[in-house]
């Protein structure tokens, strides 16, 4: 689909609104919630790049998130490194995990990749408990330093990272690379007949996806100032997949907005106490049932009169 002036205008408007909201709202609470929203947006966008485009669903994105976050945690508590080392090293570690899981399983067809991701994340969660002397067990690792002391400035930093992440992934998705990923989703055998090395593109895309997810994990660790095993949990992975579905798979920016909206919704429902989960689930079921193509991306396209 072509990029129209209205799309660019909408993107700039949305980013400006996100950047100014904590100032206008003049609320530290809002800053915190929005930081979380934007970190989830990085995770959703990175999931969408690999799985949304190739159709190979990743049920263990939390593996990369946890790998990135624990990298930040170990650097802080074991090596007492400058906290900024967390960002590049979390990327490297997450990409290494992508190779370890993706290389043996993405060559195969069938559910191996989805299952391997799901189990790898679950195994890591268990390992964090088993090696509690190193990992801090249930409590995890704490005492991380913030990257930037002012929460508002940190929020703006994370927002900038998210915008760059989304921009890079969208450019890639619209390039020849993205075309090949969509072709893989269409028919792997035809891709082979077209001379395309399907396995290479799947593994490389998973590495890119993991890189941004790991980066988001490190940003999350330096936001919470601690890391704990639930980062690897299947709930984290599934939450991200739901955000992508609500946003509209394959568009990158749809999942970004889906992640922001659902994180906000979760926060708004806190007031409802024990009914919160029911309301949340009901909203999701309604969206997924009536709008199988997602809510955000299709709605925007319809409102602005885009053809496809």
């Amino acid at each position: 689909m072509k990029v129209r002036a209205i799309d660019i205008g909408g993107a700039i408007g949305a980013v400006a609104l996100l950047a100014l909201a904590p100032v206008l709202g003049n609320s530290g609470y809002l800053t915190g919630v929005l930081t979380l929203c934007v970190i989830y947006a990085i995770w959703a966008a990175s999931w969408d790049f690999m799985s949304g485009l190739t159709g190979r669903e990743n049920f263990g994105h939390a593996l990369f998130i946890g790998a990135g976050a624990y990298t930040a945690g170990f650097l802080a508590t074991v090596y007492f490194a400058n906290p900024w080392w967390s960002l590049p090293l979390s990327v490297v570690v997450a990409m290494a995990f992508a190779v370890i899981v993706g290389f043996p399983t993405l060559r195969l067809r069938g559910p191996y990749f989805a299952l391997a991701m799901l189990s790898a994340a679950a195994i890591m969660q268990r390992l964090m408990l088993i090696f509690w002397e190193q990992t801090g067990g249930e409590e995890g690792l704490y005492g991380l330093e913030p990257l930037i002391n002012s929460p508002l400035h940190y929020y703006w930093f994370v927002l900038a990272v998210m915008v760059v992440t989304a921009a890079v992934l969208m450019l890639l998705a619209r390039s020849h690379w993205g075309l090949i990923l969509r072709a893989i989703k269409g028919d792997e055998a035809t891709c082979q007949a077209a001379g395309i090395n399907v396995t290479f593109y799947k593994i490389a895309s998973l590495m890119i996806s993991a890189a941004f997810a790991g980066l988001g994990g490190a940003l999350y660790a330096h936001y919470q100032l601690q890391v704990s095993p639930p980062l690897f949990s299947v709930i984290t992975s599934i939450t991200i997949i739901i955000m992508v579905y609500v946003g509209g798979m394959g568009s990158i920016w749809g999942p970004v907005l889906g992640a922001i909206l659902l994180t906000l919704l979760t926060e708004m429902l806190r007031g409802f106490g024990e009914y919160r989960l029911w309301i949340y689930t009901l909203v999701l079921m309604l969206i997924l049932f009536f709008l199988p193509g997602g809510l955000v991306a299709p709605l925007w396209r319809r409102l602005t009169g885009a053809r496809s």
Binding site: L179, G186, D187, Q192, A193, A194, G195, I196
Partner: protein, 262 residues
């Protein structure tokens, strides 16, 4: 000249050094041997047909040549280089491309994008500007006007051309066409045959075409390899093949009304 030597000369084709050399290729599916040790060669510049009734093993033979299925035994050489064991995309990048019997376009994409994917194969992407190359291929197969159409709205005849376009985009030396005429109306067959002839002549392509009715490619091919029950039963000119007793038996004997000579 002994009879086997004569057959051998025919199998080898006129020019001597084979572009493709298939030797003793065999494939079993459970209890069924779909290809029972096929051997033949193609000379560069030939246009050859593979004829055989349903289930003869023609498509399986293509899958074996292109790496989509691993043979149990035998060897396949392109220009003297062994292809066995290579992934299908690598074989394509060596210059051997194929079409599918059941058209397999990339859904959710335009006609141009469908061809563009194949223009991104390593064999061609560094030599030509991909989009320009894709448009040139669409011109060649007569799909220029449809470049922007989603493949979902393409009539069947155009899907068959798109299948050929995708293979051509990889710049093959040897093109394998699996029943390119299947399901086409009589008015569509001749233009497609002319397209294939033009590709053979102007692009210097070597072509191997599967058909199960000889009528379609009588005038197109110079040699025919006839298969039945996974075996090559005869090799010869189209005129020789229609009169070959084993071919007549394979067709008349079993599938009345679908006769080779009809």
């Amino acid at each position: 000249m002994s009879e086997t030597a004569a057959v051998d000369a025919q199998v080898r084709g006129a020019a001597g050094v084979p572009l493709l050399a298939v030797d003793g290729v065999r494939k079993r599916f459970g209890g069924l041997t779909a290809v029972k040790g096929a051997s033949f060669t193609l000379a560069a510049g030939e246009i050859v047909g593979i004829l055989g009734p349903n289930g003869a093993g023609k498509t399986t033979l293509f899958n074996l040549l292109t790496g989509f299925i691993a043979p149990d035994a035998g060897s396949v050489k392109l220009d003297g280089h062994e292809l066995k064991g290579l992934a299908p995309y690598r074989i394509v990048n060596r210059g051997l491309a194929r079409t599918f019997q059941l058209t397999r376009p990339f859904l959710g994409m335009s006609v141009l994008e469908n061809v563009l994917v194949a223009c991104l194969a390593p064999r061609v992407r560094h030599r030509m500007a991909s989009e320009e190359h894709a448009r040139r291929i669409l011109d060649q197969v007569g799909l220029r006007e449809k470049a922007a159409s989603p493949v979902e709205v393409l009539p069947y005849g155009d899907l068959r051309r798109l299948e050929i376009a995708r293979a051509l985009a990889t710049d093959p030396r040897l093109l394998l066409l699996d029943e390119p005429f299947a399901g086409l109306g009589s008015s569509e067959i001749e233009p497609l045959a002319n397209l294939i002839k033009r590709l053979h002549r102007e692009e210097n392509l070597t072509i191997l075409i599967i058909e199960h009715k000889l009528r379609e490619f009588m005038a197109l091919v110079s040699r025919v390899i006839a298969m039945d029950f996974g075996e090559i039963i005869a090799v010869g000119t189209p005129a020789e093949i229609v009169r070959h007793p084993r071919v007549i038996e394979a067709y008349i004997g079993r599938t009345e009304g679908d006769g080779a000579a009809a």
